[in-house]
């Protein structure tokens, strides 16, 4: 029985180390969003792009581009002040899947402007993609 448990642990560690589940979730989301007529070929092309990006350091195929981030910020800031509250910022990160629920984010008292939000989202996304 020990052998079985240790292999299971080994498998779980492997999944976490290479962030396989996040990668598969992302791939499935892209497939369902784009709905290509030939899913296998499309998946292969996605993975090839990812591999190239990793090797050459060229831009990763981000899921959300700049206009999406701006749109999201505007949704949270209907009055057009230019800033959002810390609570909104945390919720937004959770919804984008860019931070784990228990992660403690420092509320350093600074207001969150659009630029700060954008940079933060990009940095987190880049960190996640780097690990794939």
């Amino acid at each position: 029985m020990e052998a079985v448990e240790s292999r299971e642990l080994q498998a779980r560690d492997y999944l976490e180390k290479h962030r396989i589940m996040e990668l598969l979730n992302h791939l499935t989301s892209v497939l369902l969003f784009v709905r290509p007529p030939k899913p296998r070929e499309y998946l292969i092309s996605l993975l090839e792009r990812l591999r190239l990006a990793k090797v050459t350091g060229v831009a990763f195929p981000f899921f959300m581009d700049n206009s999406n981030i701006v749109a999201m910020f505007d949704m949270m800031d209907p009055s057009g002040k230019g800033t959002i509250t810390f609570a909104q910022y945390k919720e937004a990160l959770k919804n984008l899947g860019l931070c784990i629920a228990d992660e403690v984010l420092n509320d350093d008292g600074h207001i969150i402007t659009l630029d700060k939000f954008r940079d933060d989202v990009n940095m987190r996304t880049w960190k996640i993609w780097k690990a794939f």
């Binding site: 498998a11 999944l15 290479h18 709905r35 794939f132």
Partner: protein, 479 residues
């Protein structure tokens, strides 16, 4: 943020695309391979896996006692599915492998090959290109539980396991008649499977070890081992009786091997029940809705509800009801779309009955974007329908519904005052049936993957058929 706390509205194209292209199974098989091999670089590994596209190649194990016909079945299946056959004989006889040479030495010394060597041979063979691309059939391996466990640790899992069964006495007798053709290595039998060509007949040899004593000994050992192998393959095992003609065994094996197992993919049933009036559609729909939480969408009910709501559409429908004319298709479609668009239908799935009654209506349903993913045709002969419908009666005072054959009224007094719904009169029923059958062939052609169920049985049997049709994956038509 409001938009994220409210329930997400997922466009219905997404789950439909996922189901149609088997996205879940694709991802699942990729994850399985990743976990078995645990490559250091997952992305190139995944790219290679996707290129290979071998999720559906046959991976079959055939087990059975001596003289059950394993090798014959294995060879026929192999030819039919154009895949590779692996037997102990051809594994040990392989010329290019050092492991095989070692195995041959062992065999010559003590007439047995140790388990570890045998499984290493299997592993070597299964990693070769043609097995990876076209699949494999293992004939008679694994023979012991140790071999099963070794194969599992190496990551080779079959998708179908067939076990042939027959009474021992039959097998002992059968084995006496076994003959082998030394040239083609095919197995023949003096009584059951005699080759037609005379030259083959002349060169047949009796193999060694077919005496009764020998066979009995081998059977004993087989029974001892098989009982510990069977629990290792709980959901993919099928036992087929070998005590029947070869062809029957072959067809059963082939049908089993071509079916896919139930998958864990998320599945929202969108069921369509078609059948003449009186075939039991409403009853089945109600049973399905209750058991699986689906939304029961009955076309007639929907129209009556619209009338009750006194909406604009409802008034329009009422005018048709008053004139006793059938409601036109586009009005029905509008009411239907309104119902199917609601979030509970999209999330929980639906059971539709009473709607597409002819080809045009079916096209309209498809153009709405709501294609059912399971279609059932309930077949019933006219006599049974007549029996079910024309004997229906209602008691006008208590409102209780009776059936003169299946649920007769308890007293003569009640029976005297029973009334019949004019729609249930025999000529009306015949008219409805004719109408249905005129459109049936077109509907059957439109819904190519429909399942036909015999409606002329008791409701729970029909329900079980429908259930198994929904739960199991749709059969792939190969021929």
């Amino acid at each position: 943020m409001d938009a994220t706390s409210a329930p997400h509205l997922i466009p219905s194209e997404m789950p439909q695309y996922g189901e149609a292209n088997h996205i879940f199974e694709l991802m699942q098989s990729m994850l399985e391979q990743l976990l078995i091999h645990q490559p250091q670089d997952p992305i190139p590994f995944m790219i290679e896996h996707l290129h290979r596209d071998n999720d559906h190649v046959p991976k079959i194990i055939i087990l059975g006692p001596p003289a059950s016909g394993k090798t014959t079945i294995a060879m026929w299946l192999c030819k039919h599915l154009s895949t590779n056959l692996l037997t102990r004989g051809n594994l040990i006889g392989s010329e290019f492998s050092s492991v095989a040479a070692e195995a041959r030495k062992h065999y010559q010394k003590c007439k047995k090959v140790p388990d570890s060597l045998l499984i290493r041979l299997v592993q070597e063979r299964l990693t070769e290109e043609d097995c990876v691309r076209r699949g494999w059939i293992l004939d008679g391996i694994p023979q012991t539980r140790e071999q099963v466990l070794m194969m599992q640790t190496l990551g080779f899992a079959p998708r179908h396991v067939i076990v042939l069964n027959a009474p021992d006495s039959v097998l002992i007798e059968r084995n006496l008649g076994k003959r082998i053709d030394p040239v083609t290595r095919e197995i023949y039998h003096t009584t059951f499977d005699w080759p037609p060509e005379a030259e083959v007949q002349n060169r047949l040899l009796a193999p060694e070890g077919i005496s009764e004593v020998e066979t009995a000994r081998k059977l004993l050992e087989y029974h001892r081992n098989i009982i510990r192998i069977l629990p290792s393959y709980p959901r993919i095992l099928k036992a087929i009786s070998a005590d029947q003609p070869c062809v029957d065994v072959f067809y059963q094996a082939l049908t089993y091997v071509l079916t896919s197992h139930r998958s864990n993919a998320p599945f929202t049933p969108r069921v369509l029940l078609c059948g003449p009036t009186g075939s039991g559609k409403s009853l089945q729909a109600a049973l399905l809705a209750e058991k699986y939480g689906l939304v029961n969408v009955c076309c007639g009910q929907l129209l009556k509800e619209a009338v009750k709501d006194q909406s604009k559409l409802g008034e329009l429908i009422q005018s048709y009801f008053d004139k006793e004319m059938p409601v036109p298709d586009n009005v029905i479609v509008k009411v239907l779309k309104g119902r199917l668009d609601q979030p509970d239908c999209v999330q929980r799935g639906w059971v539709l009955h009473g709607f597409p009654q002819d080809l045009d209506q079916a096209h309209m349903l498809a153009s709405l974007g709501y294609s059912p993913n399971r279609v059932f045709f309930l077949n019933m002969p006219l006599d049974s329908i007549l029996e079910r419908l024309t004997l229906r009666r209602v008691d006008p005072i208590t409102g209780e519904r009776y059936h003169l054959m299946y649920k007769p009224p308890p007293t003569l007094e009640i029976q005297a005052r029973l009334l019949q719904n004019p729609k249930d009169a025999e000529d009306q029923v015949r008219l409805q049936m004719d109408l249905f059958y005129r459109n049936l062939s077109e509907l059957e052609q439109f819904f190519k993957q429909a399942i036909t169920v015999n409606g002329d049985q008791d409701p729970y049997t029909v329900f079980e058929y429908i259930e198994s049709g929904i739960i199991n994956p749709l059969p792939k038509k190969v021929f």
